[in-house]
Amino acid sequence: MKDSVQRSSLLTWLADPLQATRDTAKRAFQSTTDRRVWLAPLGIGVALLVLSAIGFAADPEQFYFSYLIGWSFSLSIAIGGLFFLFFQHLTRAEWSVVVRRIPEALVWAFPALFVLGIPILFGMHDLYHWTHEELYVEGTPEYDAILAGKRAYLNTPFWIGRVVFYFAAWTLIAYKLYTLSVRQDVDPDTDIPAQQRTVSAWGLPLAAVTTAFASYDLLMSTYPHWFSTIFGIYFFSGGFLGAVCLISVLSMSMQRGGMLKNVVTKEHYHDLGKFTFGFVVFWAYIAFSQYMLIWYGGIPEETVWYKYRMEYGWGYHSAALLLGHFIIPFILMLPRFVKRSRPILAFWSVWLLGMHWFDLHWVVAPVLNEQGGFHWLDFACWLGLFSLIVGLVMYRLSRHALVPQNDPRLAQSLRFENA
């Protein structure tokens, strides 16, 4: 960061690493809302998390699992935002410039998510069976030869070190992409698009590897006997889908608030809709690939993971996941008008955000509960954390221009049409 935009104070760094540059934004791209747009979701988030804290007192184990599901939901969407930005920069995309500030504001969620991840450290004993010391004492009935074999990788210090490394990598990439773009608003240095491409070029493989390993460490290791090498892509596909849906929803709600008039048009929503549809299919492709190989192999240590998800009510969850995350949206999102209609695309975006959480719940919750179903803490933790993250996104959006106003491809993006 050169001197064009000042760093923010340490106190607000978690929320926004830069000083507000809203005054330099052109009028058409200026946020016209007051602080309620971010205070309201922050307030709801804090209220729901306070409620969850009461739930913690009653049932800590359930709290930790609900919290991990809700936290992974927001984390996966922030990671999806990173990949969205990589793709736009690396392909020099024109269409997306008018909506790009939303994922740029989204990816600075990593520092806040890191802080919000601290409760998981306290719940590791409940969440991660492999943290139990007695599993590794040879000659005792608790001794687990399989987990003992995995101990070099699955042990608490290494796990914490890895998670810290993932967050450091994501935060670094997010910092570069976010500050480069905001700096461009004030100081249209012609070198910035090339720098954004460079960051994306090394950021893409780094984020890909860290995302895959984060999904193994945070989610897959809740059932440490089981393994699936495609799990990282599975996690990514849902997160990317969630990020695209969130971009559509936030862009529509800003337009409802009277901002970005004639900036984001039907044509841009059409492309966001195509992205959404594409990742509905991609998620199904990956989810099925994982399932089919395990079905065909028929090895007990692999199939047992699916067996838990087909019994005692979890079978209904599996069926609902197949229908709600793939078959229904696939068929109903096929026509062109669906992607070009704001109310219908808004419906599917919210629906799929819900299904993405349902998917994570399906992955994690059967480890704790033999019986299918939900606990109220699942909803309180999920919506509380997500409200906080969305509130912080709105806070960042309100402090800067709503589009990267000096991007050289902005003019093409404004008049973009699906040919």
């Binding site: 099925f288 399932y291 089919m292 079905w295 062109r336």
Partner: protein, 202 residues
Amino acid sequence: MIDDLTRQVKASMGIFESREEDDVYGLLAEFSNPSTLMHAAESVRERGYSHFDTHSPFPIHGMDRAMGLGNSKVGYFTFGGGLTGLIVGYWLQWWTAAVDYPLNISGKPLFAIEPSIPIIFEVVVLFSAFGAVAGMFALNGLPRPYHPLFYSERFKKATDDGFFLHIAASDTQFDQNDTAQMLRDIGALNVELIQDDGVADA
């Protein structure tokens, strides 16, 4: 009645019949550049013509709208192809593996949906592609090795630097003199009468 319907369907594919009494196919007008061609297409459509088409050496952005073409219908052919592929792919595997030649392979079910899905998926993609390509050809009235416009020497420029619009005589509004005058009024460089006498000249 059937003839009329055939004519309408062929017209929607861009295949227009010549006038029976004098073999007049229509009028071919040349324009100087893409934007005058686009404006010409707009005014021809606004005047109520429907049997017309434009020809240019490269695609012109916005021409679809200027001509009032609306959305492509190819997607419906693709969808139909995909559904056919779904049924064929499912039936193929069930009939070959469980009915015609049942073989016990490591105790697995003779037919199961799980391992069949990749093949069903591939057949869906293949048939969707067939549907899309066949639909594209059908909707464009292709292949069409013979076209009355090939009688015009000038029309050869359509692959180089000529921008053309032709109005077919089959259009209900077509009038040899009035239509030609109208084309000149909207900026045609020249207007040529195309006769389809069915004789290929050397």
